[in-house]
Amino acid sequence: MKKNFLISVLMTVVTTALLGLIYPLMVTALAQLFFRDKANGQLVQRNGTLVASRIIAQPFVGAGYFHPRPSAAGNGYDATSSGGTNLGPTNQKLIDRVNADVASAQAENPGKLVPVDLVTTSASGLDPDITPASAEFQVPRIAKARGLSEEAVRALVAQHTQGRQWGFFGEPRVNVLELNLSLDSTSR
């Protein structure tokens, strides 16, 4: 009895040192050595300032930018407060919000059905991607706002469309931030 009590204390202390300190610090060292950029969050610089993480969504509302999915992280796109709305499928608040977003999206594309991901909040609130369908839906607006041809914008979208990983896993997607940065560099 007494011995087991002593062991339980010693075991907690020793394994904490091994699993709580040595293990994560070792992984940190190896990660920083071999995958420095990935381990630090793939931060993106433009003109010498940090402007984003490549895989964290940020807000875009201007007509000349592709818009990301709606976000429920904090006040919107708050990367210290990830999360979703957790609205249930029969919640009137969900229906009202989607209806409002559909109305404003359809104002630019009358009569067209809006791709579902463009009017639903993501799980993290930081989803960096939209579907190719949502990108295509926004092409006419961007082309008009930037004075580009729709073909030129479409070509840019195609450049930034990632297929399924290894041709099999997940779903095709378009990284909104990368697409918008390359829009900025092609037409200012």
Partner: protein, 597 residues
């Protein structure tokens, strides 16, 4: 639904089938203390650990001592986590200067991580320091997973041993699980995750200048500010602060140990925890790899390999039923949304995308939701609360079946062995003979203990969910009105009693009632299951071997798998169907009729 979606699901099951044997053989060798290829490195570390902790590795324990050591270890390590949470403001590695965690929340979290539940009433990136995450939370991901595995092994020894008083040494089993099964795999796995984009650093949160500054409504004291003219007052936000941390090392054990507690609030939906479809697929595989392997270990250690596969088959049947239902329900989308394209095409996966991520789409989200609740993992890559009623019922029902479909590491194995005992008992009643299980007579004592396990679980869930759904302190946490609100409460207590940890996240669990009742539920759900289970193990170990005769019901056939599935489903359905019909089933019918709340 798409062809690719189905293929991803089928390939997943094929991968699990392929890893079952190698994993099972390896674990059997580890626990039989035979040589493995890792011995040259690990054996010296093992010996050193025993010297430091005064463990006598030749000592064998009866089930009572084994259980007592397990309780002591859980108790001491839980207390340590509580202390770390309460003092994190004065400890190092707290770059965001987070304050001490409140007492009721700290208790709930300590209970949650000690019991392998990982129910989270806090938001990781806004509450826990890096030190608390590493030394407190990730440590318990290892410890609670190891405890689960060693208990399953103890139970298997109980079945396998003949006329023995003892079932192994808790400390030795714990050490060997950690060193051989969990730690080496986690080091490799964590680095693979980093290569996909999971972050791993100790730096303070980064601030970036937004490409396009954002207008948001001003918030004061948690409430949106409205000007005298009734219009919202707006603020311009030019920065985005990006949370960082030692995520990959925690993510690896979070999945492999079926813990499920996210570093960030959004868990495996967060791009820093689960950045690519490949990382997502690996996370799903790592949930099932140990539980599936344990079915083979069961067969090997009891000398009946076909029994191990019969159990595996029963699990696979229930898994397939769950994932098919969830995928179908979510791919159909939400009929209440108008003007929205929810059809799957080459350009999008369609379906109900509220609370899901584009890179996972519907197939990988529903597959993840099924796996995480089949096992007692509880990680999520999309919010179950926003699933369609039937899609969200699948995770709930999975937990209600006691997470025996592969199940949590170890917990799934001893969970399904309880059902095996019941199945054998029922088969014995049907043919009118004393039931036998792998040469051991199953007698009144064993069945009583098995029933105790089976009854405590729904008792806790239904009583506490019942109280919460009629009392103000319970209902005030609901965020979705109508039948969905009942489902939120039901899901919370089911998840906590089942030590799952996933949630219908809209329910505000950070209240004194849910923190304390929930903490107690998790402790009961863990330890009140374990003690009767160990009692059966100890009792079986003492018994004489009875050679099988013509009247013995074979536990190695497809018929047995079907009977086992039947017992699990019938016990679950009899217990929970009334509650389910008032929650998700009613909501489904109302949704079809166009009703909103």
């Amino acid at each position: 639904m798409t062809v690719n979606g189905w293929l991803q699901i089928i390939v997943y099951l094929a991968v699990i089938l392929a890893v079952t044997k190698p994993m099972g053989v390896f674990m059997a060798r580890v626990f039989n203390r035979e040589r493995t290829f890792l011995d040259p490195v690990l054996r010296p570390i093992e010996r050193l650990l025993y010297r430091l902790t005064l463990v006598d590795e030749e000592h064998e324990m009866r089930w009572t001592e084994y259980g007592f050591a397990m309780l002591l270890f859980s108790c001491v390590s839980m207390l340590m986590l509580y202390l770390i949470e309460r003092t994190q403001q004065i400890l190092p590695w707290n770059p965001q200067k987070f304050a001490a965690v409140a007492p009721d929340l700290a208790f709930n979290t300590a209970a949650s991580f000690t019991t392998n539940t990982n129910w989270q009433n806090y938001s990781g990136e806004a509450t826990m320091s890096y030190l608390t995450q590493m030394v407190g939370l990730a440590y318990h991901n290892f410890a609670s997973a190891a405890v689960g595995i060693v208990l399953a092994i103890a139970f298997i020894r109980g079945i396998a041993r003949r006329e023995k008083e003892t079932i192994g040494n808790f400390w030795v089993d714990l050490t060997r699980t950690t060193l051989w099964v969990l730690l080496p795999a986690c080091i490799v796995y964590a680095l693979i995750l980093v290569s996909q984009g999971v972050v791993q650093n100790l730096r303070p949160y980064d601030t970036v200048k937004l490409v396009e500054p954002q207008q948001v409504q001003k918030v004061a004291d948690g409430k949106p500010v409205v000007g005298p003219d009734g219009k919202p007052v707006m603020d311009t936000v030019t920065d985005q602060v990006i949370a960082q941390g030692p995520v990959a090392s925690q993510e690896a054990i979070k999945m492999l140990g079926t813990n499920g507690g996210g570093f960030f609030n959004a868990n495996s939906a967060h791009p820093f925890e689960n950045p690519t479809p490949l990382s997502n697929y690996l996370q799903m595989i790592s949930i099932f790899v140990i539980p599936a392997g344990l079915t083979y270990t069961l067969g090997r250690m009891t000398g009946s390999q076909r029994h191990g596969w019969a159990v595996w088959a029963a699990m696979a049947i229930l898994f397939a039923a769950g994932v098919t239902t969830a995928y179908w329900a979510e791919a159909r989308g939400n009929p209440l949304l108008k003007g929205v394209d929810q059809h799957a095409s080459l350009m999008q996966s369609g379906g109900n995308m509220e609370g899901k991520e584009v890179r996972f789409g519907i197939a990988d989200s529903t597959l993840f939701a099924t796996i995480t609740t089949d096992a007692s993992c509880g990680a999520i890559n999309g919010w179950h609360d926003s699933y369609t009623p039937l899609g969200g019922m699948v995770p709930l029902a999975n937990i209600m079946l006691s997470e025996t479909v592969f199940g949590g590491v170890g917990a799934g194995m001893y969970g399904i062995l309880i059902y095996v005992v019941l199945s054998v008992f029922i088969a014995g009643l049907m043919v009118g003979r004393t039931p036998e299980y792998l040469g051991k007579k199953i007698e009144a004592y064993d069945v009583k203990m098995a029933m105790l396990v089976t009854l405590v679980f729904p008792l806790v869930i239904l009583v506490l969910a019942g109280i919460s759904s009629v009392k103000g302190f319970g209902t005030s946490s609901i965020s979705n009105a109508g039948p969905h609100g009942l489902t939120q409460i039901l899901y919370a207590f089911t998840s906590m009693a089942g030590n799952n940890g996933s949630a219908f996240g809209g329910l505000n669990g950070n209240t004194p009632w849910y923190n304390i009742a929930g903490g107690a539920t998790m402790l009961i759900g863990r330890f009140f299951m374990i003690l009767p289970m160990l009692a059966i193990a100890g009792n079986l170990a003492k018994k004489k071997y009875v050679p099988p005769s013509l009247g013995t019901f074979p536990v190695t056939t497809p018929l047995f798998s079907v009977l086992l599935v039947g017992v699990i489903v019938i016990v679950g359905a009899l217990t929970f169907f009334p509650a389910l019909s008032l929650g998700p089933i009613l909501e489904h019918l109302l949704m079809q009729a166009g009703k909103t709340f």
